[in-house]
């Protein structure tokens, strides 16, 4: 029985393999480093968009209150649960392929894609509701500061859904194994990052 620490993937264990698998471990580490650097650049972009909203929020509390009253929090809270569940499904998929369960991977990543698609659909419903209230991209200063971060995030979710479907397809063709699943892990890093961004956006834009 182990503690909360997850057993590390076989990549590092292969580093000293006499059959030259050290290069696979190195490749995997390079891929992960590249992904983290990409996510670091995304942190910069989203930080600018969030800062734009926060500064506006501090200077216009009455407008924010007005919008909160008009839109409510229920739909967005449901959307947050969807994304959190999709993140859990994503990591369970990785958990399954690390045990060699390809079908399990396909089911969980399929669920991830489905939840992501529903998230985007609900965000469209939210945008329609706000447009009906007169809050659009160019309606006032709030519009741009609201739609820029949330729509940019939504675009990332759409890319993630497409990527998830590609992962499922690749898994269906036997592309991932218990020893070689770095592609799933890389996608996971992207998807979880999208979830983390939403965690911040949900609090900053809708709750505070």
């Amino acid at each position: 029985m182990t503690d909360t620490t997850l057993e590390h993937s076989g990549a590092h264990a292969d580093a000293h393999d006499a059959h030259g698998h050290g290069s696979i471990a190195q490749r995997n580490d390079n891929l992960k480093m590249a992904t983290w650097l990409y996510l670091a650049s995304e942190v910069v972009i989203f930080s600018v968009l969030i800062a734009m909203f926060v500064v506006y929020r501090l200077e216009n509390p009455a407008r924010i209150e007005e919008v909160h009253q008009a839109s409510g929090v229920l739909l967005v809270a449901l959307n947050t649960f969807l994304l959190l569940t999709s993140s859990w499904a994503m990591v369970m998929g990785l958990h399954e392929i690390r045990k060699g369960n390809r079908k399990g991977l396909m089911r969980w990543i399929g669920l991830t894609a489905l939840l992501g698609a529903v998230f985007v659909a609900f965000q469209y419903v939210e945008y329609s509701t706000l447009a009906h209230e007169g809050i659009t991209l160019y309606s006032d200063a709030f519009g741009m500061r609201f739609y820029a971060p949330t729509a940019f995030h939504g675009a990332h979710v759409i890319v993630g859904v497409i990527w998830a479907l590609l992962v499922v397809n690749h898994a269906r063709r036997g592309g991932y194994t218990a020893e070689d699943n770095i592609g799933v892990e890389i996608f996971g890093l992207y998807w979880h990052f999208v979830d983390v961004v939403w965690i911040v956006l949900f609090t900053v834009i809708y709750l505070i």
């Binding site: 800062a51 990591v91 990052f193």
Partner: protein
């Protein structure tokens, strides 16, 4: 032959135990029959419910601080457990940490320094 079979079944049992151990979590001395990821998901869901409840109450400095703290906790849990930053190389944490730090400093500057001053 019998010794071989015994060794093989022992190895299989050990492998099964290892897999079983991945599907259990020991938290604060208690064994929870779910993988760590499910436990973390439960914490994230509970934190979200608390956040939504707090947001419906009259807003004040304490409420805002709690919301920010819960949001930070959720983000950290996802990064540490789902993105495996706990087990991976420290350089990945540095790659994420540096822009986060810069963003935090910039945000602090933008929110505390009056607009006419820069």
């Amino acid at each position: 032959m019998a010794a071989e079979q015994s060794a093989h079944s022992e190895a299989h049992e050990t492998e099964q135990k290892a897999h079983t151990s991945h599907d259990q979590t020991v938290l604060l001395g208690r064994t929870i029959p779910f993988p760590i990821y499910t436990v973390v998901f439960g914490i994230l869901a509970a934190a979200t419910v608390i956040e939504v409840i707090i947001s419906t109450l009259p807003k004040g400095a304490l409420g805002t601080a709690i919301l920010i703290a819960l949001s930070a906790m959720k983000a950290i849990l996802v990064v540490l457990f789902y993105m495996h930053l706990r087990e991976d190389s420290r350089i990945f944490a540095i790659a994420l940490g540096i822009p986060l730090f810069i963003a935090a400093v910039a945000m602090l500057f933008l929110t505390t320094v009056p607009p006419g001053s820069y």
